[in-house]
Symmetry: C2
Subunit: 427 residues, 2 copies
């Protein structure tokens, strides 16, 4: 999959030999050669003659101090206070696809609550044969599944409807994370309570709510509830972190993050949607004529270049360049990502690191050569339904400028000859 | 995949209704019902009427305090000091397959060193056309790959050769982790330096060493070096942690962890193995007759039940029980795992959560019913080569009792009627 470059099989080799990677012989031989001797090669370093940390140093480890910038960040002016607010995953500095829980974005409506496993209860009630209350231990006795899914806040990229505003992929596209969840199928628990009482399931719903003060209630159509939803208690192998809903959250694959209720406390089977605050005045899309789209649950195909980007400028000058980013679709697997360097006039197809992961982040790479000139970088995702990520102009044509949520348009970074990048809008 | 139980489709349902999960109506109705009202359901809780933490609370998060036991642990008496020592992944408390970096086991020979990206250099020398020195930034300019692989120390389970000793899956089998790595193919870098000078590659080797005081040099045959090895700089999406080789480590998929050199500083192409300390007096397998097997790089198929296990007893009494564990093979994908409750007399085939992941941890589940009687739990892995994990007796027959490394035999947990488990040996 790698090791060759489209039409330029020797570009990196020739380039690195020409200057970037030093020829080792020259460096080691020292003064007789043209290259300046590199003391990191020619001199014995402290770390090679002293002892490092022992295995008792960090029972649970954190990133090294040099990575202190790779953290969640919030934007104080976005919300009235940090309790009902959002922070952003540092996607500009990550690679691969898994998001560590420690830097995965948070969105709370009344803060991250402290709930012990022994105090946890999950009620299933409404149109079921037998209303049930589960303890955490009960949940652990049902068959478990493992799946990697992305979770994207519906408001991700929402500030960009009106034009380029937040300068950095972390802030424009960082309300997303991608983790491996372990949990029990929601279907299994609903079947445990029995659905005969609900009658014809076709028009039925479940209403899910959390144990926090906001309760964040949302209605989910029965078909989805009986589909791929998980009642999850682990992420990336370990317990959910407090800020991700410890001890139990709902996972609603491919659907907007607001429905992934944290600190899940109740699931009610109903014969109609509740039309709660979170699905009427919020998380709906107001169109140009003042009416609103609702039930816009599925996150359409979307992508963003994470490097180079405003927080991840090119520092190495012209020559070999790896352009990389993330693509995802709530409808299934990403099948193709194209990258443009000229604001959408021409496109090159990127390499997908691991295609076929449905409703999960897909990493793409374009292994290319930079001529040192300015670029208008864009990426465009396609998914298995044939859907193609739209331009901002196309999206505005359909939805106008009144929306906040569900902005999945193509993002543009203007890379200048000095390698710095800026969030811009192209017509 | 879930929701049914072999031959007992209603066992959990009937069981939970019979006692464990409370019928919600009964609880809510209170005193008129037989069930004791549960104040966690009938009374408003503090967390539902107060605000939690804001999104500025933890720029980089850690596990919640209630999970403080889920950490790496070392065993002081195993080694002379904690600098050249090992600690263990808390696999008994994890689920899914990904290991968070923060609790992934560590093995250092001279401690975890502190090495900044800007001080990082990687030399490729020896039988190459042009010896090269790469900076960290140089490495970022080559095409990258992403793969999930397990890394197992060759000494994992080594204390068990002589008999059941360490009481807990974390200690018997916790020298393993499983992460998504991002890096450059070692082949790409070797080709950058040029291998024409090496002549016939068939009998060539690379010698790899780290920047720490131990240097931990190892010889790798050229076929593997040009195969799936990665020069990795990210794990689970973020920078390698200090204790995992920041900023760069070698990934040698399926092969013993000692070869996964951390703080990788040099790769020398040679025409013979170096026969270093780490591959002669250590990491070889002394047989009954005093001779030693060497070049035993590949980690054979192996598995362990992580729950129930000594550190993860059954607390819920008889009835529905999820038996779960991990299986892996350095030769490829796990194709099947069987579980025995009677010390290997009879076997049931477990469910693989996500089959087909080569050289990565595979999670297995047996969704079963416990009769409350004692069990001798075992798991037995099979891989795509047809290899079957051996019993301890079979392994001893071939290798005797002098070995430390490469013990991949079937593990037994004796589960008593009270749900507690113990590490035992069955004949």
């Amino acid at each position: 999959m790698s090791g060759t470059f489209k039409g330029k099989p020797t570009s990196r080799r020739a380039f690195l030999r020409g200057g970037v990677a030093a020829a080792a012989g020259a460096v080691a031989a020292g003064a007789a050669q043209a290259a300046t001797p590199d003391p990191l090669i020619t001199e014995v370093q402290d770390w090679a003659i002293s002892l490092g940390d022992g295995v008792d140093a960090t029972p649970y480890g954190l990133p090294i101090e040099y990575e202190a910038d790779v953290v969640r960040r919030n934007v104080p002016w976005l919300t009235a206070d940090p309790i009902s607010s959002i922070n952003f995953t540092p996607i500009h500095a990550l690679d691969g696809t898994i998001t560590p829980q420690g830097c995965a974005f948070e969105r709370h409506h009344s803060g991250a609550i402290d709930l012990k496993k022994e105090d946890y209860r999950l009620m299933i009630n409404g149109l079921v044969d037998t209303p049930l209350v589960f303890t955490y231990e009960d949940l652990e006795r049902f068959p478990r599944e493992n799946h990697v899914y992305f979770c994207e806040c519906a408001a991700n990229t929402g500030m960009e409807w009106a034009g380029a505003q937040l300068n950095g992929a972390q802030f424009t596209h960082g309300m997303i994370h991608n983790m491996e969840y372990t949990g029990v199928s929601l279907r299994t628990l609903l079947e445990e309570a029995g659905l005969d009482a609900a009658g014809d399931l076709k028009d039925k719903w479940v209403y899910v709510e959390g144990a926090d003060a906001s309760s964040n209630g949302r209605s989910i159509p029965m078909a989805k509830a009986l589909g791929d939803c998980l009642v999850a208690f682990k992420a990336n192998g370990e317990a959910l972190r407090k800020e991700h809903g410890y001890p139990v959250r709902l996972v609603v694959p491919g659907w907007e993050g607001n429905m992934w209720v944290k600190w899940l406390r109740r699931i009610e089977v109903t014969d109609a949607a509740v039309e709660s605050r979170e699905e009427t005045s919020k998380y709906t899309d107001t169109l140009e004529d003042g009416t609103s789209r609702k039930w816009t649950w599925v996150m359409d195909a979307k992508s963003v270049i994470t490097s180079p980007s405003p927080q991840s400028p090119i520092k190495h000058g012209k020559g070999p360049l790896v352009i990389t980013g993330l693509a995802w679709s709530g409808h299934g697997a990403i099948t193709r990502v194209d990258v443009s360097k000229d604001g959408g006039k021409t496109w090159e197809t990127a390499r997908l690191a691991k295609p076929g992961e449905a409703k999960a982040l897909t990493r793409f790479y374009l292994d290319t050569t930079w001529d040192g000139e300015e670029m208008l970088l864009q990426s465009r995702a396609m998914d298995e339904t044939g859907y193609i990520q739209p331009t901002k102009a196309q999206l505005r044509e359909v939805r106008g400028l009144n929306s906040v949520y569900h902005n999945n348009c193509i993002q543009t970074w203007w890379v200048r000859p000095n390698g710095e990048a800026e969030n811009v809008e192209v017509s």
